[in-house]
Amino acid sequence: MSNTITHRIYDFLKEHPPFSFVSKDDLLEISSQISVLYLESGKILFSQGEKPPGYFYVVREGAVQLYNEFKSEKILIDICDEGDIFGIRPLISTDQLYTLTAVVSEEALVYQIPTSAFGVIMQNNKGVENYFSSSFAAGVRNPYAKYSKQRIFDSGEEYLKEDTDLTEVQTVKYNQNIITCFVDTSIQNAAKIMRDNRVGSIVVVNGNQNPIGIITDRDLRNKVVAGDLCIDCEIKDIMSSPVITAHADSTAADLQILMIKKNIHHICITENGTPNSKMVGMVSEHDILVLYGNNPSVFIREIKRAKEVTQLEKIRYRAEQLLKKYLKQEVSISYISRIMTEINNAINIRAIELTITKLANKGKTTPNIKWCWLALGSQGREEQLLRSDQDNAIVFEDVSEKEYKNVKSYFLDLAKGVTEILNKCGFSYCPADMMASNERWCLSLKQWNEQFNTWIYTPSSKAVMYSTIFFDFNPIFGDFELAEKMADNIYKSINNQESFLSFLAKNALESPPPLSFFREFMVEHNGEHKNEFDIKARAMMPLVDGARVLTLAARIKGINSTIKRYDKLAEYETENKELFEQLADAYEIVMRFRAMQGLKHNNSGRYFRPEELNKMQRLMLRNCFRPIKELQTILTVRFNLKMFR
């Protein structure tokens, strides 16, 4: 055995949780049992559905990506780099299969650690156990990866404190009205108490109200009804004892893991978390499952059923908590934005439905013509994560001059009601009044076509500005065919007036550059946001505008999301594939970043002070700004923009 090598591995592991919680002797023992794996980029270390071997892994160098494959779709769940632990499932349970696929994304050195080496230590060490239980319940290796890494490194204390954040999202509502009885109660009486109170379980307590056992209807069925014991016997003969207890502060993750490990369905909550203190409540497996019902499909179902605006408001707030959780768990942005778009769209649709009903009750019926509600701007691009200003419009079928007045008046009323509901749900009114309730943006198909043609044929700076918002329209409710007709008209007009694209391209170049010559962040020099970095204007706008003009030029129809636009462009122009992929990644990073900042400061996340970022965040942002410059070069060359100067 080589001590030098063992110590070298130890020196690395001790800096990283959960090894940082392990005593020196134990960790040296673990270090002596490790194998070092060198893995080439692209190598699959394990696949979803495979049976885990007796190992788990820690990245020493390089990067490993974890994917979830669902119906032939690969969703990136996590990227593990130096010090990150993955493949921990065998630690929790031996009979489960891998739920994720691990693919090496950057040539990697990985430590392979035998599960057996870690099992004993896990049981003896609270910090380690907590670490794993929250990782496990969150479904990923480390729910606080990357963004709060620094804090995790400091100490176990900090890490455990951080846990409370997750509890906020997942508060376990434990039942405080527990039916109890004493040990000398007869089985028959206990069964009666259970029946009278309509409960499936009863907790046996001593004189101090400390829980000493539990009986469930299953015990009654299996032990009494089956005939092993008589109903006059005392309850202590059939109760399960001792009782598994936990503290009221325990997270859902902790409780769930405890249930899995002990193979139980109920946990008693006591004052100090041990069986030797007063019982305060009980959590059942069902309570935990209900909690995990906080998922997108449940939200959408609830939205569809909502009868009141206040319900929509609440659901949108809860969706934001879900967003927070997703961001923390580093779920991929394309997945998050898809879900948030679904939720936002569902709210939008419900708001329209509620308003239609309300108008009908007042005797105003919807005109019997085709019409469509359009989302614009970031909602239209399906990339609205935080609740930002609403931008929307209405298009309706061409009608006779006689009908026009009534039709328009109805849709303006409708739009007024809908925008009001959206405003209540936290999508504040558009300050520039680009909403369907504005008579300028509630138009017939013919009027819209004329409007777009005016912008395309006489591209003033104002026209270009409107284009950047209205060209990203996305049908939400009604007759989607109308939206398609609008798109057809736009492409037809662009074919006749190719130079319009040059104006759009020029506009895409007008965003100020993100970095100075010395790769410092360019901050605002004056105004309300002096010395702050404007991530929207300096990083997001150039990416969004660039994607729009390039997809229009390539006549790619029906794709609005910036990331998807770059993905599509990468398919179309293989010679620039790499750049477009980098741009898609860059947009994903800035979107995530802005959402994180927004949730942290409870604002739009648009402005922040560069010095508040840690080194890694700065580096990450700087790297994703690099391809923006290349994008702008492409635009300049392709649209002959030098002549515009």
């Binding site: 055995m1 080589s2 001590n3 030098t4 090598i5 063992t6 070298r8 591995i9 020196d11 690395f12 002596s32 049992q33 490790i34 194998s35 070092v36 794996l37 060198y38 080439e40 020493r60 160098e61 040539e107 050195l109 392979q112």
Partner: protein, 225 residues
């Protein structure tokens, strides 16, 4: 080159050497993928660079099985050498009568041959390491190591091909930087053996992409550069 010709085992040899030679009684199959082969990666620290005159101070070695470095099966020995060159000490961090437990030269050679069996020996400038080990072994038996060997310096040159220029450094330090290999406490035999093992895995992975798949592909050409 160390041949594989059949030798008569001399009854007068020490048992450990007889056992060592017995490992070579069967011809090794070289038509197996590199990734399924066994290697011992070795590093020797000595008090000088003359195999005939200088002495081994320590030996570090790790095993590679199935492309995996098994650190639980590693070797780290320090030798008790009466002659000691104080100038070499600061580089290696090995002090005469320091805290580490030391064993005699003879015991060290016994442990070494027990560890390496007939596996292929890998090392950085391995010719020197094998030469000084052979000089040491010669003091006790009239024989030398029979293992095949691979030099990571030569593998590196093979990987670089035409890009390698005469005069380019091939020191372990420089190669670690180029291949992004973490290198804490270098200049210690076991530490260097681990680093060399990682370098070796990275090199064979790159050579694999150029059709060096089987052990025989790896062993032939090895003196090409």
């Amino acid at each position: 080159m160390f041949g594989l010709f059949k030798r008569k085992i001399n009854e007068a040899l020490p048992d450990c050497w007889k056992e060592y030679l017995a490992n070579f009684s069967e011809k090794q199959n070289l038509n197996i993928p590199i990734t399924e082969s066994k290697f011992v990666v070795l590093d020797v620290e000595s008090n000088g660079l003359d195999p005939k005159k200088d002495k081994i101070l320590s030996i570090g070695a790790v095993r590679i099985n199935n492309n995996k470095i098994d650190t639980s099966n590693s070797l780290e020995i320090f030798l008790n050498q009466s002659e000691f060159n104080p100038e070499a000490a600061p580089i290696h961090g090995i002090l005469k009568n320091g805290k580490t437990e030391k064993i005699s030269e003879q015991d060290a050679m016994r442990k070494l041959v027990e560890f390496i069996n007939s596996d292929i020996i890998v090392g950085h400038s391995i010719v020197f390491d094998i030469a000084i080990i052979n000089e040491t072994i010669k003091k006790y038996v009239n024989d030398k190591l029979l293992n095949k060997s691979l030099d990571t310096v030569l593998l590196y040159k093979r990987f670089k091909g035409g890009d390698f220029k005469v005069g380019d450094s091939t020191s372990l330090d420089v190669l670690c930087d180029e291949f992004k290999i973490p290198k804490s406490d270098r200049h210690n035999a076991a530490g260097d053996a681990l680093i060399t093992a990682i370098l070796f895995l990275k090199l064979i992975s790159r050579l694999k992409q150029r059709g060096v798949i089987n052990l025989s592909d790896l062993l032939k050409n090895k003196r090409l550069l």
